[in-house]
């Protein structure tokens, strides 16, 4: 059964169903859209359940040739890296839809766009054909653009266009690189072109070509991450987007960038990756410190969280380019954790914004007295984001730092300051918003979180704690896939993995170029 194809198509089916709802029954849109986002989650959990841990190659693979002459095919597969991105996506979309109950303006197109967006994001994480990957990577822009420009706040036109133009510029280089790589691959495979990821692992590239392609892929993903200095679109887009848009943007869209770096740059261009690792890690570290420093001074709470994303994504990039098993695995884990914690923070900001219609920190004060449950929830999310031991953020950042120290000790020491800075900007913001006497009369009498809001937050809270306490099942599934990337890097370059840079108990495995069905190994 083509599980992955079903998973990708399900949200689209949902979008069609929602679009076909009769005009007069607009009250049906919200529950049906929410219901339509559940089946993808169920399929994602089915995949998670049946995923073979300890095996690093692609599972559930499927292939249907689409255009033989051009070497394009519907190639899908899932490994330890994409597995959790898929599950995270499938989880965050129902939550974002659930959190959009107060959208009343043009609610039908809103839900349709969110569901289309889900199809796009799932496709990005599952595609093993680079053109199909690119198609999904690029299509994500349209629903996101429309979500920001139609339902965003005041400065939405500017923010949405900036978002699209930044990402699309990266995509232009990505498309040119994918096409030339496809042509080179096809040439070595005796065809016009081939866009099969697994074919691309087999070919020989001259160093110049490899470097050019690395940069072409790299710039697209660096903008998406976003890596300093390409980050300027992010605070605008996050701030202007509606709540669901911010959650999805921070939760999964940014991960498309780091996922791309891991899946394509590191795997396809090991030589260039090793040579450019230090400059890229430096950019990551600049992002950590700069993002955190900028977050401290933001007067707008949504902007603050947006800059904190820049900082956290810097950790992930540092981990990716440190090339140790711990750092790569930690990066994937932090991708999951950042999706959960930042998603939670954006949801919480959305909940208070609906009550007060302001995001300025200075408009708040003493909110904890009025809304104690909300304050507790916010403090929890803030701690998770800072990386308090026992919560998921800690596991991710700590493993990255341990792993990176082995290869990039100086940068790692600087990067660890990001953890302190995170405590400063989040706790200081908490202090100004929640503690002390109630300063603004408008805050009096605000309703605390209701059942629906707590129910929306609950899955995130539970997962943050669960990962924080017992991350082993996740590590067991990520580790083999990152080990393959490291093996490729070691085999094809002069890079030597430090002795302690490999987690124990991992056997050397290579990508199966042959198609493998889940569970037959």
């Amino acid at each position: 059964m083509p599980v992955l194809a079903i998973l990708v198509v399900l949200p689209l089916v949902g979008a069609v169903v929602v679009a076909l709802l009769p005009k007069r029954r607009s009250e049906l849109v919200y529950p049906i859209a929410l219901a339509m986002s559940i089946p993808p989650l169920a399929v994602a959990l089915y995949i998670l359940w049946n995923f073979t841990a300890g095996y690093g190659g692609f599972q559930f693979t499927e292939e249907v040739v689409l255009a033989e002459t051009f070497g394009i095919a519907w190639r899908m597969g899932i490994d330890g890296i994409s597995l959790f991105m898929v599950v995270l996506t499938a989880l965050l979309f129902p939550i974002s839809i659930a959190a959009s109950w107060s959208v009343t303006d043009r609610v039908k197109p809103y839900m349709v766009l969110i569901l289309i967006l889900e199809t796009g994001v799932l496709g990005v994480f599952l595609a093993l054909d680079l053109l199909v990957f690119f198609a999904f990577f690029e299509i994500v822009l349209i629903p996101m653009y429309l979500l920001i420009s139609m339902w965003g706040s005041d400065n939405r036109a500017y923010a949405s266009l900036k978002f699209v133009l930044f990402t699309a510029t990266g995509s232009a280089f990505l498309l040119a690189s994918i096409i030339s790589l496809g042509i080179i691959t096809g040439g070595q495979m005796g065809a016009l072109a081939s866009f099969d990821f697994r074919d691309m692992l087999e070919i020989q590239l001259s160093y110049g070509t490899e470097l050019a392609l690395f940069l072409g892929f790299g710039i697209a993903f660096a903008i998406k991450v976003p890596l300093f200095p390409f980050h300027t679109w992010l605070p605008d887009a996050h701030t202007e987007a509606p709540t669901a848009g911010s959650v999805i943007l921070a939760g999964v869209l940014l991960k498309m960038g780091t996922y791309g770096l891991l899946r394509f740059n590191l795997t396809l261009f090991p030589e260039a990756s090793v040579n450019l690792a230090v400059p890229l890690a430096v950019l990551g570290v600049i992002g950590i410190v700069y993002g955190a420093a900028a977050a401290i001074v933001q007067p707008d709470i949504k902007r603050l969280i947006a800059y904190s994303s820049v900082s956290h994504m810097g950790f992930i990039v540092l981990g990716i380019f440190a090339f140790t098993s711990q750092s790569l695995t930690g990066s994937v884990l932090l991708m999951i954790s950042h999706g959960l914690t930042t998603g939670a923070l954006f949801l919480l900001v959305g909940m208070i914004y609906e009550r007060t219609h302001t995001r300025q920190i200075s408009d708040y004060g003493g909110l904890a007295k009025v809304m104690p449950v909300y304050a507790g929830m916010f403090l929890f999310a803030a701690f998770a984001s800072i990386g308090l031991p026992g919560l998921s953020g800690f596991i991710g950042e700590f493993t990255i730092l341990i792993g990176s120290y082995l290869t990039l000790p100086v940068l790692t020491i600087i990067a660890s300051s990001g953890v302190i800075l995170a405590a400063i900007y989040l706790l200081w913001a908490y202090e100004r918003v929640f503690t002390g006497p109630v300063t603004n009369s408008k805050l009096e009498g605000l309703k605390d979180l209701g059942f629906r809001e707590i129910a929306i937050m609950a899955p995130l809270v539970i997962l943050v704690i669960a990962i924080g306490i017992y991350p082993k099942p996740i590590f067991d599934r990520i580790e083999p896939s990152t080990a393959i990337i490291l093996d490729r890097i070691e085999a094809s370059t002069g890079f030597d993995l430090p002795e302690r840079g490999l987690l124990s108990g991992v056997v050397e495995i290579e990508y199966d170029v042959e198609l493998t069905e889940a569970g037959d190994n």
Binding site: L66, A67, T69, F70, L131, F134, A135, F136, E138, I139, L141, I142, Y145, L146, S149, M150, A157, S160, L161, V164, L165, A168, T169, S171, A172, F173, L175, A176, I179, S180, G182, I183, L192, A193
Partner: protein, 491 residues
């Protein structure tokens, strides 16, 4: 016997007959429009059927050359060719003609008594366009080109008393005749260099190149350059594009839709016929020129489109950019012809759809369509707003819309042919293009603007829906069309 076969010229015969009938009925019937409108519609559809029959005949027999006349060596050449290229051109042009005809119905109804002439000219124009693509003889290509062009000169100036319409017609006529003259001069020089007027058959240009080695190809090169310039002008590739924005803006939308779509389809089919079919051995000479013109068109078209405030002018400049992408396919020679077909046949319907929306919003006879007038279109008419947005996404080359498939295929074949720099320029131009297409989309969904509801006529609803459906359908499942265009090659 085969020489007298009617199938190879069925397309032209049907459309010209249709045009004559329309004119006759308009003169003698009581309620003429009710009588001739079905005739015109049936003529267009019948021409598509003729195209399908040609396609099947080509698939069975491989096509061939027709209407060779005994006599002088020069004149003995065949006058008509039926192959994958001409048959597919017939299908596309027939459909383009039909859809554009339905889309211009709003215009036809306001034209009153002169409407029959309008429709007859449209029929003749499409016949001329196909004639260009279905002949191996350079002179016949020229005759087809002129037939179509003269019809379009008249159509562009069809709104009497409108200064802009007159101006656009005159501009189109003057610059158009200049380009026709260049094309003709090019034919003359090529004839001088090769001693042949025909691309295929006995004593053909292709034979000439396989038998002769030209050591001083000066005259041939000049001829090729002039022919290229003439055709670049027709398809509005930069720097031969200056007429397009003025003509597109001034002429009535219903006429522009047919002109923009039809000329692009036939123009690129002819470029493929002459250069890929005839001068393929000289590809190293003309392909670099085409690549440079392609790059120039992409860059100039997109950057100029950025600053437009009028949707018709914007579409004209974006058409320049699309010519660039289309030229990028042809630099790959025969491998580029299927992508060219995919691109141009989907683009044709997008542009018809876009101009039909323009005609709904700004009125069928208006010269000019300020982008500001599209503010809040999604509210005034949700169908028109969303469909125009889809068409804009399609043109911008977003994935899962037909424009994306066309562009990617163009880039793949151009890259394969060694023009990687063209691919990079093309992808970057696509991004700049996104900026102005999205500006239109943002305007459509803007919350400001007129509150007054728009009630588009049934015909324009139909046309825009069809065009948007084509944009989406061939974006998601391009494979059937890709399989077909693989066979749409010149002999």
């Amino acid at each position: 016997m085969q020489n007298m076969a009617l199938l190879p010229v069925a397309f032209e015969v049907i459309l010209v007959t249709g045009a004559m009938l329309v004119l006759l009925v308009a003169v003698i019937a009581d309620k003429p429009r009710k009588m001739w409108a079905p005739i015109a519609g049936v003529a267009f559809l019948a021409s598509v059927v003729a195209g399908v029959f040609q396609w099947r005949a080509v698939a069975e027999t491989g096509g061939g050359l027709f209407f060779s006349t005994p006599g002088l060596v020069i004149v003995r050449s065949p006058m008509v060719v039926m192959d994958g290229l001409s048959a597919f051109a017939a299908i596309v042009l027939g459909l383009v003609g039909f859809v554009a005809f339905v889309g211009s119905w709003d215009l036809v109804t306001v034209l009153g008594k002169r409407s029959a002439e309008f429709v007859a000219l449209s029929l003749l124009a499409v016949a001329g366009l196909h004639m260009m693509t279905a002949t191996p003889n350079l002179i016949v290509i020229f005759i087809g080109l002129e037939t179509a062009s003269i019809c379009f000169y008249v159509l562009a100036g069809f709104i009497r008393g409108s200064k802009q319409s007159d101006e656009s017609a005159l501009k189109y006529f003057l610059l158009g005749s200049l380009s026709s003259a260049m094309f003709l001069y090019g034919i003359a020089l090529v004839f001088g260099a090769t001693g042949s007027l025909t691309i295929y058959g006995a004593n053909s240009i292709r034979d000439f190149f396989s038998l002769t080695l030209i050591t001083e190809p000066g005259i041939l090169l000049a001829g090729l350059a002039l022919m290229l310039a003439g055709l670049f002008f027709k398809v509005s590739a930069a720097p031969f594009h200056q007429w397009a924005p003025d003509v597109y803006q001034g002429a009535p939308s219903g006429a522009v839709a047919l002109m923009a779509a039809g000329v692009k389809v036939a123009g690129f089919a002819v470029l493929a016929r002459i250069f890929v079919g005839g001068f393929i051995s000289q590809i190293d000479t003309w392909a670099p020129v085409m690549a440079v013109i392609a790059a120039l068109s992409m860059v100039l078209g997109t950057t100029m489109a950025l600053v437009q405030t009028d949707l018709k002018r914007l579409l004209a400049y974006s058409g320049v950019a699309h010519s660039g992408y289309l030229l990028a396919t042809l630099v790959a020679g025969i491998d580029g012809v299927p992508p060219m077909w995919f691109y141009v046949s989907t683009y044709a319907f997008m542009i018809i759809g876009a101009f039909t929306v323009v005609s709904v919003v700004n009125g069928p006879t208006s010269s000019g369509a300020p982008i500001a007038s599209f503010k809040g279109l999604a509210k005034r008419s949700p169908a028109m707003g969303w469909l125009l947005a889809i068409i804009m996404f399609g043109m911008s080359g977003m994935p899962f819309f037909a424009g994306f498939v066309g562009k990617v295929l163009a880039f793949v074949v151009a890259g394969e042919a060694g023009y990687l720099w063209l691919v990079v320029i093309g992808t970057l131009a696509t991004v700049i293009g996104l900026a102005f297409y999205l500006r239109v989309v943002a305007t459509i969904f803007s919350s400001e603007g007129d509150e007054e509801k728009l009630e588009p006529s049934r015909s324009s609803r139909f046309v825009v829906a069809i065009c948007a459906a084509i944009t989406v359908l061939f974006g998601i499942v391009p494979w059937p069309l890709l399989d077909v265009v693989r066979e749409a090659l010149p002999l």
